[in-house]
């Protein structure tokens, strides 16, 4: 009977007895013997979604974006309804008019921010911060509420019971830490400025005294000091180093807080999520998120180190094979440069180094072609070096700008081919590991969940998706989205203690789309 009314592909639903080695964590500590694993199943297809997507896109353009609210509802419905659990689909009930209202308000909010930026560009960042900081927790809570209340399964709606106050409380520690670090940065900045001002006044005084002296002597005075002529004491140097260390320490603490903060948000999200009248419960520890971030960073580190080693080997080989030639045409140029430098009254080691770096940078820009044009910086003292340069110049004396362009393109391609995939792989793996951690440690009454996304699976899908999106100028997007949804569904399961018939409805409450739409534009990751 039940099978007869289900779509054909739902028949293949994996329903097998629960194996004891996949020990899940249950919300209630009575693991029953008759647990059934229901895999989620995504029955949508790329070509179907492409049709919906392209028609909606065209209507969006025709209606100047007003239709986008209806398009969003159709998109959400496609992905919800095509996700089946035990043969029944999820559903999405967002009201297009509520979404449109939210979008209009979101646009108004950003217009206000832009207006503030125009009217008060200097106070903008402070004002924007003051305006948006109290708004962010509200946006997060509202968007969780809107999403969950508009999602249903078997006729029961999800609900989110978290509050603004609750979220602020959960994040109090992080906010305090952030404020402490920020005030430390301000203090460090202020004290460094004080040191700088003190030194400037002393230098100005000494200049005032030596006002009648010749420029050469003034230059010598500069040369004795640091590069900009100010004289710093040893204590100042130690102080500056200590301040630098403090700044580094501040950034380190901020980085180290990220996994815990993400964990806190996920815990807040799930512990206040309800299906009907039943609440979800989580059991993961915040410390587990450090493991997740550490593991997720491994492929990134591996890819970048492999690329660096490869690059170093190539550079070494290139250097060994061309070292002789390079030496031949760099040497006279370096001589000319030092000749030029000797004409200036005082040369600090710093300046000499800079000039040499510049010369080599120029040579590199030219794609290491033999046309090096040595050029004096200073109009007054350029007679000799220019003569030297002329002697050096080959008959065809133009810098190869096309060579430069080719160089830039090569660097760009290397960046595209290594760094971007590394970022994509890391993002995909991080989301997979996070989902695994969360769902394997979450329960709903006596039911549990399983998430078993794998590195190679998610990596293969991520990379091939983005490659095809780039190759098709974005037209592959619907297929990419469907493939990812199907993978995630395949690797998520509910461990049902019974036939899932016994949930009851909770109290229904109003739904406002304002929070979700502003959050949508901010691009918060609020997916479960």
């Amino acid at each position: 009977m039940q099978d007869a009314i289900l779509p054909d592909n739902a028949l293949s639903l994996a329903e097998h007895a629960y194996a004891p080695d996949e020990q899940p964590t249950f919300g209630v500590n009575t693991p029953p013997e008759t647990v059934t694993e229901h895999r989620l199943q995504f029955v949508g297809s790329g070509s179907e979604y492409f049709k919906i997507w392209i028609v909606n896109l065209f209507l969006n353009i025709l209606t100047l974006g007003i239709y986008s609210a209806w398009a969003k509802v159709r998109r959400e419905q496609y992905f919800h309804r095509n996700t089946l659990l035990d043969g029944s689909g999820f559903d999405y009930h967002g009201d297009p008019k509520a979404i449109l209202k939210g979008r209009v308000l979101a646009v108004g909010f950003f217009a206000t921010l832009a207006l503030i930026e125009n009217l008060a560009p200097f106070q903008y960042y402070i004002l924007a911060l003051l305006l948006s900081a109290p708004l962010i927790p509200w946006l997060i809570v509202r968007s969780f509420v809107f999403r969950s209340r508009n999602t249903s399964f078997r006729g029961l709606h999800f609900d989110f019971r978290g509050t603004y106050k609750g979220l602020c409380k959960a994040f109090l520690v992080y906010v305090l830490a952030l404020v402490a670090i920020a005030s430390m940065f301000v203090a460090v900045n202020y004290s460094l400025e004080q040191v700088l001002i003190n030194n400037q006044t002393t230098t100005e005084q000494s200049i005032a005294v030596e006002d009648d002296d010749t420029y050469v002597e003034d230059d010598e005075a500069c040369a004795e000091g640091s590069e900009d002529g100010h004289v710093y004491s040893e204590e100042d140097a130690i102080f500056a180093a200590a301040m630098g260390f403090l700044i580094l320490f501040g950034f380190l603490v901020m980085m180290l807080l990220i996994p815990a903060a993400v964990g806190t948000l996920k815990r807040f999200q799930l512990n206040h999520l309800a299906f009907g009248a039943s609440g979800f419960q989580t059991r993961f520890r915040l410390s587990s998120f450090y493991g997740v971030y550490l593991r997720a960073s491994l492929p990134f580190i591996a890819i970048l180190s492999a690329a660096s080693i490869l690059g170093a080997v190539i550079a070494l080989v290139a250097f060994v094979t061309t070292a002789g030639e390079l030496k031949e045409f760099y040497e006279p140029a370096v001589e000319a440069q030092s000749q030029e430098l000797s004409h200036e009254s005082v040369v600090t080691a710093e300046e000499a180094k800079e000039s040499l770096q510049k010369l080599f940078a120029e040579a590199m820009e030219q794609g290491a072609l033999p046309e090096i044009v040595v050029e004096a910086e200073d109009q007054e003292s350029n007679q000799e070096p220019v003569a030297a340069a002329e002697a050096l110049e080959p008959p065809n004396d133009e810098i190869d700008t096309e060579g430069l362009l080719v160089g830039v393109i090569i660097i760009f391609v290397i960046f595209m081919a290594i760094y971007l995939p590394a970022v994509l792989v890391t993002q995909g793996y991080l989301s997979a590991l996070t989902a695994n951690l969360i769902w394997n440690n979450t329960g709903l009454e006596k039911h549990g969940f399983v998430s078993d996304q794998k590195f190679w699976g998610i990596t293969g899908i991520t990379l091939s998706n983005w490659l095809l999106i780039l190759l098709t100028a974005g037209l592959y997007w619907p297929w990419a989205k469907v493939r990812l949804a199907a993978y995630r569904a395949r690797h998520t399961a509910v461990l049902a203690a019974d036939d899932l018939d016994n949930f009851i409805a909770g109290a229904t409450r109003e739904k406002s789309a304002i929070g979700e739409e502003i959050a949508d534009i901010f691009d918060f990751d609020i997916a479960l």
Partner: protein, 354 residues
Amino acid sequence: MPLEAHYFDGQSSRRRPARLSKSHAGLLIENEDGGQRAIPIADIRVSEPQGAAPRTLRFEGDNAFCEVAQGAGFDALLLELGYRAPTIVHMQSRWRWVLASLLGVILVFVAGYLWGLPWGAKVIAPHVPVAAMRPISEAALEQLDEYLLKPSAMPEERREKLQAGFLRLAALDPELTAYDDYISLNFRSSPGIGPNAFVFPDGQIVLLDELANLHDDDDEILAVLAHELGHLRGRHGVRQLIQSSVVAAVAAAWLGDISFAAVTLGSALLSSGYSRDMEREADDYAAELLRRQGKSPELLVNALEKLEMAYRKKMSASDREKEGKEDKFLDWISSHPNTDERIRRLRCLADGNY
């Protein structure tokens, strides 16, 4: 023939088998223990088809609903109930509409890029204050100074002469007073760029020694500067800036945040240099300025011919063959009108159309 379905009461997650059929009262739902419920046709809300996903029948003013598999049986029931799918569903399910939408989207993008964008930029550009172009122009010149430009070696005397000539030229057009704060002639040299002159959107013009050295007649140089003033007057720089920012923003929205690198490349390719129309506009403007001074547009023709000759000479015989193809490609993407065409146009202007 009754249709097998699942019935949910909306109060619990309990799933009950049910049979659906059309009766005189509307939709008849029968459950396995003989219970019956009839729903008036007007109260039925049928979900849109979403691929293979089960369909739902919801009832007005009620949390209960039925879930039914797609198929011939369900289609027959819908037909009996007299259900008509919304137009949008027809569009989404027929390839003819899908292809039309795809073509429409492509058309909008192409037309927007070819006509909408230049038109919009032309409308907006005059409202952008010149001062707003200051920081970006300063930054661009600084970058160029650091990497490609070198100080000019032109004798002071000649600089002063050109400077004076340039100011006289700029004073001819009262519209250019908008740039009074920043308009200036700057001298640089760059063997890398070769003979050239360029203008920044805030009014700073850079003249390279390589170009000045091509001409014995300063009037020819001034003709080139008049052409650059034409770019300024037409706000071509601001327009280019607006266009490339819009292209970058649209590409970012289209491809998603990840492909920012692709976006950079794409917008660089799509917005390199001034358009053919802008070059023509600047040529016409230069001819007009020269005419007001009682000079012939032929001066700009001479300058262009010398530039073209210098450019041809630059390519030695050995790599001309190799670079020929690349140049064609670069020429095509930069969408510059070729020099011959510009010279012909200017000759027409000189021959008395004015």
